[in-house]
């Protein structure tokens, strides 16, 4: 319970500063500090238990199905880190009280800081890797807010975003790694994962999990080549740099390495990846640090270098190296936080952090300078200070570790790293504090108020105390921490200043001497460095991002350029590709068991006609009229095919539908240009040809496969049931009006709606912009001299009664012979259409005064009522009944209730066709009138 409270306290503390600031800056700072202090004390209360080797746990259920629970545990490692986070946190809160100026919104600062603190404590106490991830990303977020705290500085904005992009991105990679890890171990609880080391290392998922986890850890701990965000994060206020970017947050990465050490370390992959990245980071960033002119920049790169050192130590994979790593974490946190705070004091007092403009501060601000010099000496690894001891241990371990089969590589490079670190520590110390006092500081510096140097003093005291009495002060803590890291395999090793004349001691001496020499030769070294190109990571980062954005832009411009043709092409290609992949993937779908039918003449002729019509449509589709005729040909062939396959009713339907549509389209096309514009390039045509060819092949293959397979036709059922069930022998008609009567009912409604839509659309052509265009319309080509040819008029009028008669006949016989309401409706419509075309609309309209809309309504109503009628007979909607009736001339025929339904179909069809025709004619007459008015106007002018 206490553990949860320790994590929770900083979060609770984050709620208050925003209000406390109204009571003044002191209230705000100290009020915030109380929460950290209580958490710190709660932690110390646990110390005896932790030192006696217990692991304290607190567990709460959150999302148990996911394996995500709020489980905390406190072992040595967690204790060390929590101690650092809360302890240094307290000092930082105190320091920031004096550091922040009156213009800075202090409340916001403490809110972010406490958020960060809580998240950080959460990371180190989590016993659940998913929970750890959540806290992990929270630290990235709060760090983002803190770096961007000074919004007015452009470098703060860039730095914040870069830091978030790198650490947040790394965190997402870590999610992947952790999920894999949990999957291998079968649990997301750390305490269980740590027990499952062998299982994890032998898993096939070990490498991906390792790589993802290391990516996350390296991004957070600023390991090369992901180190570049850290120096830019220095735009944050100095308390933030001291806290997040040296003592705690960047240590989260190495914390993670330490945490998963029992589970992941000990393999060659771990050794080479972790050690190499650590080594390279340590040397490169130490070298860069030497030449940084910005105090914080120098410290930033030195931090990166030290993190590299710790990473390398964990990479070695031996318990003793882990112990050295743990010890160095502690030491680095103390001296580096002290150094950052000193740098902040210098900046605060002298108003500059540029080393070139500083020097001689020892005499102006003696307290600060003394503290900073001690801390810097520790960083350089001067004996009697804590940095010395852990560095010795590191060198000692390097001597005993073989890399790539060579004994000398690690010792040499480790010494080189140590040498560089002496050099930059010396530069920090000498160029800032020693040397003559100058008179050109931007602001005359002096020692800051007590509250500002007190935190530094406390830290430096620790540096000295640990350095003098390592066995007494640090050893128990380091030991229990190492126990936690190595799983109880802590070597029997005593921290002490003097280990005799070991190789490490000589390496230390070389480093010290070399470093000081390098510093003495600072200027030549600097010019030596400047001879080489120095890639600026920030520029590279930005260039990469820009390049990605550009590539992304190009891809988008190419793929999503707004061209519908291209979209269609992509979709069709995709479906062809997937289709063919499926087709070729399994056993090819070849011929089935049915034999092919021999080719016969009618079939061949129809086929040739069809293909020829199709080809001609392709060639001449720009000529609208011609393509319409070709479509008519296709329709004819289709109806002939129906006829050939003994489906006269279908053939009849097809023919009449064909006639009506062609005629109506002919009327509509009249108002469009005779030719469509040519828009496609030949390249596009080629592409489309290939696509359609492939699609055609695929479909042909499918059709071949399907038609050569046997199938169970449902026609037998319908043939058998048609007479007993529906009372008719024309199966198609029985299906339409009875078996599938509901569908037909729906269809005639749709037909009616379509007619109304035609009405609405064409009606809008008589108003507004469309109407203005229509009144300026000039028909292409020559107008016929005689719109109503005499022969045509006579022929249609003679044909009319005949056609009507045929319509009635077809209608009545429909139930048993080919025919029915639908075909009858079409036949009658054709007869009427012909009148309108031959004699003109007004002539016909004058003689047939019918409300076509009403016709449609009546049709639908009739059909519906027939259906309802069945209810009265106690049967479901649209069930038909029939009886036989004898009429004088026609003879005996069958009268089914379906007839009423068929009347509905008939009326709707006629109505729909007539509505379309009437409205097309309206548009036509309006256009004619406008055109004739124009003609007369021009005639008048000519006259």
């Amino acid at each position: 319970m206490n553990l949860a409270l320790i994590v929770l306290l900083p979060f609770i503390g984050a709620l208050f500063p925003a209000f406390l600031i109204r009571s003044g800056r002191n209230a705000c700072a100290y009020g915030t500090g109380v929460f950290t202090l209580v958490a710190f004390i709660l932690l110390l209360v646990q110390a005896p238990a932790v030192f006696s080797g217990q692991v304290i746990q607190a567990r709460f259920e959150w999302l148990p199905q996911l394996g995500l629970n709020v489980n905390f545990f406190l072992d040595g490692l967690g204790f060390l880190f929590a101690l650092l986070i809360l302890g240094i946190g307290l000092l930082i809160i105190l320091y920031a009280r004096f550091y922040l100026s009156h213009n800075d919104p202090m409340g916001r600062f403490y809110v972010y800081l406490m958020l960060f603190q809580g998240a950080m404590v959460g990371i180190v106490l989590s016993d659940n890797i998913l929970l750890l991830l959540i806290f992990w990303e929270l630290t990235s977020l709060s760090s983002f807010l803190l770096i961007g705290y000074w919004r007015h500085l452009p470098e703060a904005r860039q730095g914040a975003r870069m830091a978030l992009a790198v650490t947040g991105g790394g965190g997402l990679a870590l999610i992947g790694g952790m999920i894999l890890l949990g999957q291998i171990a079968g649990s997301y609880d750390l305490s269980e994962i740590l027990q499952a080391g062998d299982q994890i290392r032998s898993s096939s998922l070990y490498i991906p999990a390792l790589l993802l986890i290391l990516t996350g850890a390296f991004a957070k701990s600023a390991q090369f080549p992901l180190h570049f965000w850290l120096p830019h994060a220095m735009a944050a206020p100095t308390p933030v740099s001291a806290y997040l970017h040296s003592a705690t947050m960047v240590k989260a990465g190495v914390f993670l390495l330490a945490r998963v050490w029992p589970a992941l370390s000990g393999t060659p992959e771990w050794f080479y990846i972790v050690t190499s990245f650590g080594l390279v980071t340590m040397i490169i960033s130490a070298w860069i640090a030497i030449f940084k002119d910005d105090l914080k920049g120098l410290l930033a790169f030195s931090t990166v270098s030290h993190l590299g050192l710790i990473t390398m130590l964990f990479g070695f994979g031996t318990p003793l190296a882990a112990m050295a790593g743990v010890f160095h974490i502690l030491n680095h946190a103390t001296f580096k936080a002290a150094l950052f705070m000193s740098a902040g004091i210098v900046d605060h007092e002298a108003h500059t952090r540029d080393i070139r403009r500083l020097g001689g501060l020892l005499f102006l601000m003696p307290i600060t300078a003394t503290l900073a010099l001690v801390a810097a000496a520790s960083m350089a690894g001067i004996p009697l200070l804590n940095g010395f001891i852990s560095k010795e241990m590191m060198l000692e371990e390097a001597v005993h570790t073989t890399y790539l089969g060579q004994d000398w590589i690690l010792p040499v490079f480790a010494t080189l790293g140590a040498l560089f670190s002496v050099a930059y520590a010396a530069r920090f110390a000498f160029h800032t504090f020693l040397g003559p006092v100058r008179d050109d500081y931007p602001h005359k510096p002096h020692d800051p108020p007590f509250g500002m140097w007190l935190p530094v003093f406390i830290l430096v005291s620790l540096v000295v105390l640990i350095g003098l009495l390592p066995g007494l002060i640090a050893e128990p803590l380091v030991k229990i921490t190492t126990d936690a890291v190595t799983g109880g395999n802590t070597p029997d090793y005593h921290l002490s200043i003097w280990h005799g004349f070991t190789p490490a001691l000589f390496m230390s001496m070389i480093a010290l001497a070399g470093g000081l020499t390098l510093m003495a030769l600072y200027l030549p070294a600097k010019s030596f460095r400047e001879r080489f190109p120095r890639p600026e990571a920030k520029v590279i980062f930005e260039a990469i991002i820009e390049a990605i954005a550009k590539v992304s832009g190009q891809i988008t411009a190419l793929a999503h350029n707004g061209s519908l043709q291209r979209y269609l092409a992509v979709m069709v290609s995709a479906i062809i590709a997937v289709g063919f992949a499926g087709y070729l993937g399994s056993t090819p779908l070849g011929a089935g068991e049915r034999a092919m039918v021999p080719v016969n003449w009618p079939g061949l002729v129809a086929w040739v006609l069809l293909v020829a019509a199709l080809g001609a449509t392709l060639m001449y589709h720009h000529h609208r009229l011609f393509s319409l005729i070709l479509i008519g040909v296709v329709g004819m062939v289709v109806s002939l095919t129906f006829f050939y396959f003994s489906a006269p009713d279908l053939a009849l339907t097809q023919i009449s539908v064909e006639v009506v549509t062609v005629v109506l389209m002919l009327l509509a096309l009249n108002f469009l240009p005779k030719e469509t514009p040519r828009e496609s390039s030949s390249l596009r045509k080629l592409r489309d040809l290939v696509l359609s060819g492939l699609a055609g092949l695929g479909v042909a293959g499918l059709v071949y496969a399907v038609t050569t397979r046997g199938f169970e036709s449902i026609s037998d059922y319908h043939l058998a049931e048609s007479k007993p069930g529906g009372g008719g022998t024309n199966v198609v008609n029985v299906i339409l009006v009875d078996f599938r009567g509901f569908d037909t009912f729906g269809e005639i409604i749709v037909l009616g709606i379509a007619a109304l839509a035609i009405y609405a659309l064409l009606d809008s052509a008589l108003h507004g912009a469309a109407q203005r265009r229509l009144s300026k319309w000039v028909p292409e080509g020559v107008r016929a001299m005689d719109p109503h040819p005499f022969i045509l008029v006579i022929a249609t009028r003679v044909l009319l009664p005949l056609a009507l008669m045929v319509g009635v006949y077809i209608f009545l016989r429909g139930h048993n012979q080919p025919g029915g309401g639908f075909i009858a409706g079409l036949v009658v419509s054709i007869a009427l259409l012909m009148q309108y075309m031959a004699s003109g609309f007004s002539w016909a309209q004058h003689r047939l005064k019918l409300d076509y809309h009403g016709l449609i309504g009546a049709g639908v109503l009739a059909a519906g009522l027939t259906g309802v009628g069945a209810w009265f007979a106690g049967r479901p909607f649209l069930t038909s009944d029939y009886t036989y009736v004898h009429l004088p001339v026609i003879g005996e025929f069958e009268l089914a209730t379906a007839l009423g339904f068929d009347v509905g179909v008939f009326l709707t069809v006629v109505g729909a066709v007539m509505v379309a025709l009437a409205n097309l004619s309206r548009v036509g007459r309006r256009a004619d009138a406008a055109y004739e008015a124009q003609e007369q106007a021009t005639d008048g002018k000519e006259a």
Partner: protein, 483 residues
């Protein structure tokens, strides 16, 4: 056949359809100017439908000769669809009034489309499926082009229609192949055939491919996503908000229903397709979004990517996977509604703006809206402890548990990439110099929607159980004997 039972089973759908028809009539007879009334009534109808759905006594029942299925999964998804539709319609009214497009047809069409979505979710037959899809799509085609006097809107509608018809064609072709090779259109029968070791012929596989392609279009998954950016950008913003939420949820639900229901035994056949679509969607969604300057286009790519993540859960093909899809879509709903609420607030001098640069310095000109958008963006980027993180966590866990490691890793990597452009918006809002401030006030309903969605997204982690438990119950529908 007891028609009364059937009607009771489908009561929410029937009620909504009848309300839509009644409102259409009301609109026709009251004429223009009744848009506000009809919008209010439409939202009320949606809420009543939601109530009917929640009170519905029947679970795991089917109606109309097994054409219509009613189960926990359907209830959950329908709930999301109804909430999404209602929220986006609430947000739309002010917008359509200001943009002079307040026509009563709009809410009615949206209602019809919602009915179609509910039908899709409950479809238990290939024909019912097609009917639902078409009812939904046809209404949406019209809605996309509702501003027919502007070029962009009509172009968007036309493109959507042409491409949509093609996809419907594919869908039909696939359906007919499936019918041709199995002899049935009924999902239950299909499932029985495969459960009893029915032969999986190549024709059936091809049918399944075409069916998947048609459905992938509806949820704008790559490579059938091409319409999305253009339609999102071209359609009026309020309509885009609708597009981004309800139809996506319904489409995905249908996808799950079809693949897990009748073809649940054929995981091996369709898993590769879904994995491919998911990977492609996540990649395109992440990469193409980087270069966008228009926030509506950005949201289009973002939704493509999000569909990819949701499909990861489906690809797993397990109960965990389906639960993950449910959780993901629920969170997606709130994040998207919230984000579009912000986009609808982007007005400067009485004119809508939609460039990302227009958000510059929003944290100073309008800190609350900026905070809300920041919450949504962090959530979409998948940064804990916001809701979006849990959505992603669920799908990735499901994928890993089914052994789809590569899929999970690709998902993680693309979310790293997409985090980049979500964070860019936050950077623009918080760190750039302010451009012109947005018009105030944003309206009470906007403030309510924004507050509600951002609180849900922000505090999901404190009370996750309502969504999680409903999603778990939903997933059980496909695993009756499951744990």
């Amino acid at each position: 056949m007891n028609i009364g039972n059937d009607i009771l089973t489908a009561l929410p759908e029937i009620f909504l359809a009848c309300s839509a028809i009644a409102l259409l009539m009301l609109g026709v007879f009251r004429g223009e100017g009744s848009s506000r009334l009809i919008m209010t009534l439409s939202v009320t109808a949606l809420i009543v439908t939601l109530g009917l759905l929640l009170m519905g006594p029947t679970r795991n029942t089917s109606a109309f000769n097994d054409l219509f299925a009613n189960d926990g999964f359907g209830d959950f998804m329908k709930m999301l669809v109804l909430i999404g539709a209602a929220l986006t319609m609430v947000m739309a009214q002010r917008y359509i009034e200001r943009e002079q497009m307040a026509r009563f047809e709009l809410p009615v069409l949206l209602l019809f489309s919602t009915v179609g979505m509910l039908m899709m979710i409950s479809a238990n037959d290939l024909i019912a499926l097609y009917m639902g899809v078409e009812l939904q799509s046809l209404a949406l085609y019209v809605v996309a082009a509702i501003r027919r006097d502007t070029l962009r809107s009509s172009e968007a509608g036309l493109k959507y229609f042409v491409l949509g018809s093609l996809s419907s064609g594919m869908l039909l072709y696939g359906l007919s192949m499936i019918y041709g090779f199995t002899g049935t259109t009924n999902f239950t029968t299909l499932a029985e055939i495969f459960a009893n070791g029915g032969e999986v012929s190549l024709g059936l596989t091809v049918g399944l491919v075409f069916l998947s392609a048609g459905l992938a279009f509806k949820i704008s998954a790559v490579p059938f996503h091409m319409w999305t950016p253009d339609v999102y950008e071209g359609a009026p913003t309020a309509i885009t908000a609708f597009f981004a939420v309800a139809p996506k949820i319904a489409g995905l639900a249908l996808f799950v229903r079809v693949l897990m229901g009748p073809f649940g035994e054929l995981v091996d056949q369709w898993q590769q397709i879904i994995v491919f679509i998911a990977v492609a969607s996540m990649l395109v969604g992440a990469l193409a979004a980087i270069a966008q300057n228009n926030i509506k286009r950005l949201m289009a790519y973002s939704s493509i990517g999000n569909m990819g993540y949701a499909l990861v859960g489906l690809a797993a093909g397990t109960q965990e996977g389906i639960r993950a899809v449910g959780v993901y879509m629920a969170i997606y709903l709130f994040m998207n509604v919230g984000t579009f609420a912000v986009i609808l607030c982007m007005r400067v001098n009485d004119r809508m703006v939609e460039r990302i640069d227009d958000l510059k310095g929003l944290s100073r000109t309008n800190p609350l809206i900026a905070l809300a958008l920041a919450i949504f963006m962090f959530s979409m980027a998948g940064i804990p402890p916001l809701a979006g993180f849990f959505g992603k966590l669920y799908v990735f866990l499901a994928a890993v548990e089914s052994g789809l490691y590569i899929l999970a890793v690709i998902g993680v990597l693309t979310s790293v990439i997409s985090a980049f452009y979500y964070l860019r918006i936050i950077k623009v809002m918080y760190f750039d110099e302010p451009s012109e401030a947005f018009d105030q006030p944003i309206g009470r309903e906007m403030a309510v929607v924004l507050t509600a969605t951002s609180v849900i997204v922000l505090l999901f982690f404190i009370m996750p159980s309502p969504i999680l438990e409903s999603a778990s119950a939903a997933a059980e529908a496909f695993f009756p004997a499951g744990p």
